[in-house]
C-alpha cells in the first residue's frame, strides 16, 4: 500500500497527465482544423459559389446565408427574449407556481435536442404553413432553439443591476416600466449585448435545426439585386438557404466533389474563426459599452 505522501505524489502525476492530455486533444483539434483549413482559404473560396461535382467550389453563398439567417433569427428572437426576460425578472412574482412552471418549460426547451426542434419547425412551418425550405422557416426554428438561452441571459443581465436603482425610480413616482425602460435596461446593455453575441455564435454554428427548415440547397444569388421580393435576391427570405454549418455536414455525408475534404476543412476553419471572433467581439463590446456607460462625461 502507498502511504499518504506517496499517493499524494501519484495523484499529482495523474492529474498533470490528464490535464496535459486534454490540452493536447483540444490543441490538436483546433490545430488540425486550422492547419487543414487555413491554407485552403482564399478570396475566391470565400466569395464564389459552391460546386456540386467539380473541384474549386467556394462557400460565398453559404457564408452570406449564415450571416443573413443569423440576423433574421436575432431580429425575431431578441424582442421576444427581451420581453420574456423583463417579465420574468421585473414583473413576475417569483414565488408563484405559474412562474415556476414557466421557468421549467423554458429549461426544458433549452435542453431539447436541436434536431427535434428543427423537425418541429419542419412540420409546422415548412409543411403545415407551406413556407417551404426557406430562410424564414430556418430563422423561426433557430429562434426556438435560441430563445431559452437568450431569455436567461437577459434575465441574468437584469439581475446584475442592483435593486437600489429600482427603488430609486419607484420613490420618484416612476412606474415600473419607466424605471426598467430608462434606467435598468440602459444599465444592463453591456451584459445583454455580451449575451446576444455569444448566442449569435451558437446560432451561427447550428446545423441540425436547419437541414429541414432552411434547407440543404444554396441556389446562386444575384448580389446585384437587393429587392427582397425577387427570387434570386440575397435578401429574399422565402428562398432555401444552406448555411456554412449545413454545408460542412452535407459535403461530408453526401458530397461527391473531388475536393470535399479540403472544402469542409476550409469551411470548418471559417466556422471556428467566426466563433472565435464572436467571442472576442462579445468581450470587446461589453468592455467598451461598460466604459462608456460609467465614464464621466
Amino acid at each position: 500500500m502507498l502511504n499518504p505522501k506517496q499517493s499524494d505524489k501519484l495523484a499529482s502525476i495523474i492529474l498533470y497527465t490528464i490535464a496535459g492530455l486534454v490540452i493536447l486533444i483540444l490543441a490538436a483539434l483546433v490545430g488540425y482544423i486550422l492547419v487543414q483549413g487555413v491554407p485552403h482559404l482564399s478570396w475566391h473560396f470565400l466569395t464564389s459559389s459552391s460546386s456540386a461535382f467539380t473541384a474549386g467550389g467556394g462557400i460565398g453563398v453559404q457564408l452570406f446565408n449564415s450571416f443573413y439567417l443569423l440576423i433574421i433569427t436575432m431580429l425575431i428572437s431578441f424582442p421576444i427574449a427581451l420581453g420574456a426576460g423583463v417579465y420574468l425578472h421585473e414583473y413576475a412574482n417569483q414565488k408563484s407556481r405559474l412562474i415556476q412552471l414557466i421557468r421549467t418549460a423554458i429549461e426544458i426547451l433549452s435542453s431539447l435536442p436541436s434536431v427535434v426542434v428543427g423537425l418541429f419547425g419542419f412540420l409546422l412551418f415548412v409543411v403545415q404553413f407551406k413556407l417551404g425550405f426557406s430562410i424564414l422557416s430556418g430563422a423561426i426554428a433557430l429562434t426556438f432553439f435560441n430563445l431559452p438561452l437568450l431569455t436567461r441571459s437577459v434575465e441574468e443581465s437584469l439581475r446584475s443591476i442592483p435593486d437600489l436603482q429600482r427603488e430609486a425610480g419607484a420613490a420618484l413616482g416612476l412606474s415600473r416600466w419607466e424605471t426598467v425602460g430608462h434606467i435598468i435596461l440602459p444599465a444592463a446593455v453591456p451584459s445583454i449585448v455580451t449575451g446576444v453575441v455569444l448566442s449569435a455564435g451558437r446560432v451561427f454554428g447550428e446545423a441540425a435545426a436547419l437541414i429541414y427548415t432552411a434547407g440543404q440547397s444554396a441556389p446562386a444569388l444575384d448580389f446585384g439585386d437587393w429587392n427582397p421580393f425577387n427570387t434570386a435576391s440575397p435578401l429574399n427570405i422565402m428562398r432555401p438557404a444552406e448555411t456554412l454549418a449545413v454545408h460542412i455536414w452535407k459535403v461530408n455525408s453526401e458530397g461527391i466533389m473531388p475536393d470535399a475534404a479540403a472544402v469542409s476543412a476550409g469551411a470548418s476553419a471559417v466556422l471556428i474563426i467566426a466563433v472565435l471572433l464572436f467571442n472576442f467581439f462579445a468581450r470587446f463590446l461589453s468592455n467598451v459599452l461598460y466604459k462608456r456607460l460609467t465614464a464621466t462625461k
Binding site: L164, A170, S175, I183
Partner: protein
C-alpha cells in the same frame, strides 16, 4: 430583552406598556397618519397596531433596534413594500386612504418621496439625475428644469460643490455628495412628505452632519419622517420620536420628552443604550 429592566432603577412600578401621543387635529396640522397598520411578510407579522400621526413641517424620528419594524413601517407609508409584504390598515393622506387599491401608487409617490440608506443615484449626469423623473412626468421646459436643478441642489446644500460639473456623472461624486444629490432629486419633485430610511448611516461623520443641516433647512418646506439608529441624530433634528420594539410602537411623543422623561421602561432602556 426584559433583562435590561432588572438592573436599572425602577422608580414606579406602574409604568405603562405603551404610550402613544395623540395629536389634536385642531391644534396641529396633520400631514399623514396611520390607523391599525399591520405588515406581514408571508405569515410573519412584522408590524402591528401602528397608529401614528405626523405633523406638517416637522421632523419625526423613528427609532428602535434592528428588526423592530421601523423601516418596515416607513417603507409601507409610500407603499414600497407592496411587492414583498401584505400591508393592512389605513394610511390617511389628504383625506384619502392611500393604502387602497383605488390609489394610483406612482402618482402618490410623487407626493410622498423617499431617500434610502445607501445612495442610489442613476448612472446619469448630475443634472439628469434631477431632471429625469420630472421629464418623465411631463416637464420639458428647459429653463424651468435648470431652475429646479439649481434650487433643489441648493436646498440639499450641494450646489456650491457641483455647480460647475452638472454634466459630470453622478457616480463620480463621493458617498456623502451622492446622498445629498439623491435628496435633491427627491425634493425636486416638490413632494409633501419626505421619507428617509437611515439616510446618513452609510456616511462619514462630516457628511452625516451636512445631511442633518440639510434636514433642518428642508423642514421649512417638507414634512419629514426619518428612520435612524443614531440617538444623537434623532434628538438633534427631530420634533417627534416614535420608539419601535418587536413590531410595535411602544412610545410616541415629543422628542424632548422621549429623551428626557420617557414613560415606558423599554424606551428608557433603549434610549440609554441598554440594548440595541
Amino acid at each position: 430583552m426584559a433583562a435590561g429592566t432588572q438592573g436599572s432603577l425602577n422608580l414606579t412600578n406602574e409604568q405603562p406598556d405603551r404610550h402613544i401621543y395623540h395629536m389634536d387635529e385642531d391644534k396641529h396640522e396633520i400631514a399623514l397618519s396611520t390607523k391599525n397598520l399591520e405588515v406581514y411578510y408571508g405569515d410573519h407579522l412584522a408590524l402591528q397596531d401602528a397608529d401614528l400621526s405626523f405633523e406638517r413641517f416637522k421632523i419625526t424620528s423613528l427609532i428602535g433596534a434592528s428588526g423592530s419594524g421601523k423601516s418596515t413601517f416607513l417603507r409601507s407609508l409610500n407603499r414600497m413594500n407592496d411587492d414583498v409584504a401584505t400591508v393592512k390598515g389605513n394610511i390617511m393622506y389628504r383625506g384619502l386612504d392611500i393604502n387602497s387599491q383605488d390609489i394610483d401608487v406612482y402618482e402618490m409617490r410623487k407626493h410622498i418621496g423617499m431617500v434610502f440608506q445607501r445612495p442610489n443615484p442613476f448612472a446619469k449626469s448630475i443634472s439628469d439625475n434631477i431632471t429625469f423623473a420630472l421629464k418623465q412626468h411631463g416637464e420639458h421646459d428647459k429653463a424651468k428644469l435648470a431652475e429646479i436643478v439649481e434650487t433643489s441642489l441648493k436646498q440639499a446644500a450641494l450646489w456650491d460643490e457641483v455647480k460647475d460639473d452638472l454634466k459630470k456623472s453622478a457616480l463620480s461624486l463621493s458617498g456623502g455628495q451622492q446622498q445629498r444629490l439623491v435628496i435633491a432629486r427627491a425634493i425636486a419633485m416638490q413632494p409633501d412628505i419626505l421619507l428617509l430610511d437611515e439616510p446618513a448611516s452609510a456616511l462619514d461623520p462630516i457628511s452625516s452632519a451636512k445631511i442633518e443641516d440639510t434636514l433642518m433647512e428642508l423642514k421649512k418646506r417638507f414634512t419629514i419622517i426619518i428612520v435612524t439608529h443614531n440617538m444623537q441624530q434623532a434628538s438633534r433634528v427631530s420634533d417627534y420620536t416614535a420608539f419601535f420594539h418587536t413590531g410595535q410602537v411602544l412610545e410616541y411623543d415629543l422628542t424632548r420628552k422621549i429623551f428626557t422623561r420617557p414613560k415606558v421602561q423599554m424606551t428608557i432602556d433603549y434610549v440609554n443604550g441598554n440594548f440595541g
